[in-house]
């Protein structure tokens, strides 16, 4: 961008030759261009968003510990199957028919809230215990979603447990293991 000469360039009056004052202005256009180019580059390559994470704590398996006996009537077991589906049941394995459900607001979350309230009412305010059993056909997303639902519904007592053969057979029966 060249500067236009606006001095007029008329005749000098009085005949005296004045030395022309050089402008002190520097053309910054190129410099600004370069600066914005670099800004664009750094903006696109940086990760401003710091990684977010959720904390997990698993039980210590290295040393034997005292196990507290827990009434089975207070536990709800969630089996994670394939195709983003799950099964849940209350109490001991095989004694009550599992319910096939899906993730989300009307599925697992509703079941968790209902069961939690029911168990609290029948056990004098004691909280429900939830066991999550991911099967080999479930995805990592299912696992995180299940934990998320527990977090949303405010159920603190939960554990991740290995699935048993009986439960796998049950998932197979319901077509959730393929």
């Amino acid at each position: 961008m060249a500067e236009l000469d606006t001095s007029g360039g008329g005749k000098h009056k009085g005949g005296k030759v004045r030395s022309k004052k050089a402008s002190t202005r520097v053309d910054l256009t190129a410099m600004v261009d370069l600066a914005f180019l670099l800004i664009t580059f750094f903006m696109l390559t940086t990760t401003l968003a710091k990684p977010k994470a959720m904390d997990m704590a698993m039980p210590d398996t290295t040393k034997p510990q005292e196990q507290l006996a827990v009434p089975a009537t207070r536990t709800m077991t969630i089996l994670l199957g394939s195709n983003n589906k799950l099964e849940w049941y209350i109490g001991e394995t095989g004694k009550s028919a599992p319910t096939v459900d899906n993730f989300g607001k009307d599925g697992l979350r509703k079941a968790l809230i209902e069961n939690s309230n029911k168990i609290k009412a029948s056990h004098g305010g004691q909280p429900m215990i939830v066991l999550i059993k991911p099967s080999d056909k479930s995805t990592y997303n299912n696992f995180v979603n299940a934990l998320d639902e527990l977090n949303i519904t405010g159920i603190d007592e939960h554990a991740v447990v290995k699935i048993t053969q009986v439960e796998i057979d049950d998932l197979k029966k319901n077509g959730l293991y393929n």
Partner: protein, 201 residues
Amino acid sequence: MPRVKVQRKSTATDMTAMCDVAFLLLTFFILTSKFKTPDPVPIDIPGYTKTVVLPEDNIATLTIGSGKVFFGVDQNLRKTTLEEVGKLYNITFTPAEINTFIGLPNVGVPIHSLKDYLNMDSEKRKAIQLPGVPTDSVSNELFNWIKQARLADAALNKPLRITIKGDAKQEYPTVGRVIDILQKQGANKFSLITALKAAPK
């Protein structure tokens, strides 16, 4: 009669302020930037409603995707970790190999092909498909990588924070295996890297 001359205005604008702002932003981005480390496999992290911000350093990352596991640790721990793991498998690395290793964000090859992998030129290294660190209990490789990184970090008196960055579509068994490996060495607390999801009403 003299003609009325139209005063011509200069088209040059004052760029000083613009230049100032541009360089201010530039300085900010240069100082705060941390380059994205490309994931060895495409990773789409799952969402979670309640997350904490991870610290910037002192973490080990286990990247899980496409059935493979990759191990990465902070730059200042890489040298010790590599040397100690090498000792377990009777492999000694040359200083040049160690230097290459320090520059790599992730380990994604079995220990016995690691030497060959480090000696490749960088173009070739980018091009090949990585098999991931073996997670089977026979060679115990992932176990040893994590263990040695934790030991190297313990020498600096800080507990190493282990994070798992898993792909949402990853089938659970691989993740379960990694969690088992962590539990086996008493690393019962770890973090799963998740994206923040809006909390439901």
